[in-house]
Each structure stands twice: as C-alpha cells, then as structure tokens.
Amino acid sequence: MTVQDGGCATVLSIRGLDAFYGAAQALRDFSVELRGGEVLCLLGRNGAGKTTALKAIMGTVHRPHGRLVLDGRDISGLAPEAVPREGIAHVPQGRRLFSDLTVAENLQIGLNVRPVGRRGLSTALALFPVLAERMSQRAGTLSGGEQTMLSIARAMCLDPKVILLDEPTEGLMPAAIARIREAVAQLRAAGVAVLLVEQRVDAVLPVADRVAFMENGTIRARLDIAEVRADPSVLNRYVGLGG
C-alpha cells in the first residue's frame, strides 16, 4: 500500500485503460489513482467518455488493455460479476434501478454481493430515512430524488471500498442535490474512495478533493482543488462557463 501526499492510501490504481464499443475506441489510456477518504471528480462534456470509464472499471465494456490494482491485488482479469464482489460499487447514470422490484429487493441485491453484513444498509437508511418507509413499494414508483437515493443506498449495501457515482445529481432539485452531496461526504469520511462523475463544476466543488477533465475518451488535465477554489476561472479552459 502506498501512502500519498494527503495521507490517504491508494485503494484502486487504474493504469492505461482502453475500452471499445465494437471497433470504436471510447476510452484511451485512462489512468487514475483512487485513494481512501478522497473524492476524485471526473468532469467532461457529453460524450467525453466518463460513463465509459466507469463501465471499463466495472468490466462491462470490452477493455483489452490496462491494469486495475485494488489494495495491491491485480483485478484486471476478473469477470464483470466478480468486480463488485471485490468491493467496487457502481451508481450508474440514470440510476438503473430494478424498477419492477421493490425497494427492499433492490437493497437485497446490493446486500447479496458481498458477505459484509448490514452495516452499509443501516448507514444508507440513516442517510435516506424515506427509503425505510417505502420498502415494499416498487422502485419504479418512487420519485426521481428517491430513486437516486435508492440507487446510492443499493451501492452502499456492498459496504464498498470504492464507489463510482455517475452524474447522481442529474435532473434533481437543489434540496435533493444537497442530500446526495451529504451522502458523498459521509462516504468520504468513512474512508471510501469516491470517483464522482459530474458535468456541472459547481455541483462538485464543495465535495471534491481532486478534479480530472476528460475529453475524447482520455484525461486532458488534472487539477488540485485548492487551485480551482482559489481561481475558478481555470476551469473555463476545459468546460463552458458554468459547466
């Protein structure tokens, strides 16, 4: 385990990941280090390859090259269904709940992934108490904000070492966004390595430790958050005004 400057250990090291949809390459030489208790924000315009990067980590897109090392163990060759069992949880873009299934069943699917007990579930329910009142309701009938909460709660049920969140605030009202941010902060405080994909810079500034910009399937720039906070205009080089 390597200890980095922030005092956080690298949990997941990703090196030179390429990913393809058929013959089309959508991810090129993607490399990041995710550290425990740290939030890395991945920014970029539509089609930059952010979602593809997360899918490549999960192994659900063809990724012939690259190395994934989790806690010192090479997991690059694992089957897609084995990746989450190592403790990498995914909150996919658009939530991707099992909408025909109940809230309880969606959470159970998260609990079934690893033999970690129900600690992650209790943390999630403490964060999102509304879910506890909706247990037997079909997930598809929840409100948009509740669905996002369920998607995050389902991932928290893995008691993950790493969590990948793909635009969790997309389409939410400010109050709901605040709840999601709170969840991210809590995961960070619990020592989880967080990779947060967003399009809007203002949505991530308060919770990010580091920022990386993607363009054309690869990382174009990495910025220290202190630098960005001191002078947000550095962002304008990479994204349009206001994201």
Partner: protein
Amino acid sequence: MDLAPYLLLAGLEGLVEASVLMLSALGLSLVFGVMRVVNVAHGEFYMLGAVGGWAIASLVPDHPALGFALALLIAPALVGALAIAADRGILRRIGYDPEATIVATIGLSYIIQQVVLMTFGPDARAVEPPFYLNIRFPWFGYSGYKLFIVAVAAVLVGALWVGLRRSRLGLMMRATQFDRETAQNFGIPVGRVYSGVFAMGAMLAAVAGVLIVPANQAHYLMGHDPLLMSFVVVIVGGLGSIPGTIAAAVLIGLSDGLMSVFFSPTLAKIVSTLLVALVLVFRPQGLFGKAETRA
C-alpha cells in the same frame, strides 16, 4: 340428453391438458422472459422427456411405480444437462442474438428428432402408469393417474412461483431479466443465470413429457404440438408473464378439452390459433400481460 357428465368429462380432460401445457409453456415463457430468446427446440425437450422417461421406465419393467419415479427424476435431469450444453455450446456463442437463436434452435430441434429416430426408432412407446386408480363419478370412471398429473403440475408451478418470489436465485433471475448489465454490476453471474434458466425451461418441458407418456405415448415427432400450443399460451398470456401463462394455459386447455369433446380436436386447434391472431392484433402484450413499461 343430459349435458352434465359430458361437461365434467370435458372439464377434466381440459384440466389435464391445461396442466401439461402450463408446465411446457412456463418453460418457454421463462426462457423468453429472462433471456429474450425464443427456443424453437422447446418441443424437443418435451419429447426427450417422454422418450427418455420411457427408456428409463423400461429398465425396471416389473415395478411400474419405481420405473416411473426414476423416469420423473432422471429424464428431466438429463434434459437439463443437455440444455446447459446447448446454451454453452450454441446460444452463448451466437451472443443470444434473437434471430440467430431461432435459426440455431430450429437446427437443434431437427438434430434431436433425428437422433431419437435413429436411436429409438419410429414406433410410439407406451409407459405403464405408476398406479391404477379409477375415480368413480356417478356417470363414468376417470383415471386417477390423470388427476395425479394435475396435482404434480400444480405443485411444481406453485414451487416455481414461490421460488421466483422468495429465493435468492429467483431474485437473481428477476434482476437479470430486468437489466442484464446492472445485474452484473451487482455480482450476479448472468452467464450462469442464463444457463440455469435455459435448463429450468427445458426441464419443465421434460417433466411435462414424462407426465404425459403413461396417458399418451412417446414418439419422436410428439414435440410439435406442445411447441405450437406453448407458443399460443405464451402469446395469449403475455410473453414472460408467469401469472398470464398460468391463466392462459387453463383457459386454452379447458376450451381445447371442451371443444375436443363436443366438436373435434381439429376445431379446437383452429379456435386456439384464431385466438392468437386476435390477441396479436388487438392486444399484442397478451390478455394478461402489461404493456411494455421499459423505455
């Protein structure tokens, strides 16, 4: 003429037919629901259940009950193993592409038929019922074995229903059915779920085949009708919907029984086929299915 005895007889015959149909149609529906492919060789799994059941039962000719019990356990297991081999060897290799799967399973069904023809010959084979019990009604006696078919089918379908709703495997199957990629993101081995579902579908057909041999006979071409009728049931009931499949099997089995007794089996098939055409035109999601909700 007193109608009551005829109605009762037709109802009983219809119920027996509905039970067998329900098992075989549920197999087809399960495979379509989870894997989104149509298995044209489904009728051959039914036939293999029947022929395999005969082959196994004839190993213990002196104990019909024992022979039948062995057939009911072993034949579906063998058919399930064959289905897993077909899934790994064929369907997985063609990526479960819907059109390619139809063509591949048509081929598979001819291969199975011809192998059975070459191995067991063209004769119809009879299996002795495990027990003889004549249930006396005021007007006629009825085979207790046929009512046993109904009971076994009801128990199996009940178990399948509870298993899908309550067990961990059932949850995995429903999650895979809904969203394969997300299921994988949550550690569900969708490849193995597919193999398992294909095997379960085949075994349901095979059980139906074993159950029917003591009442009918085993023959290498016997898979054709159940395939057709299973399609009818699955389309009328709504593809992939288990309650719909059960309801449609009972509806079609009973109407088939009634029409076969009062008119002719051919008319019964014509009416079923017409029903499918009407359903496809006016209610393509099936009488009991809900409209496609996924965007």
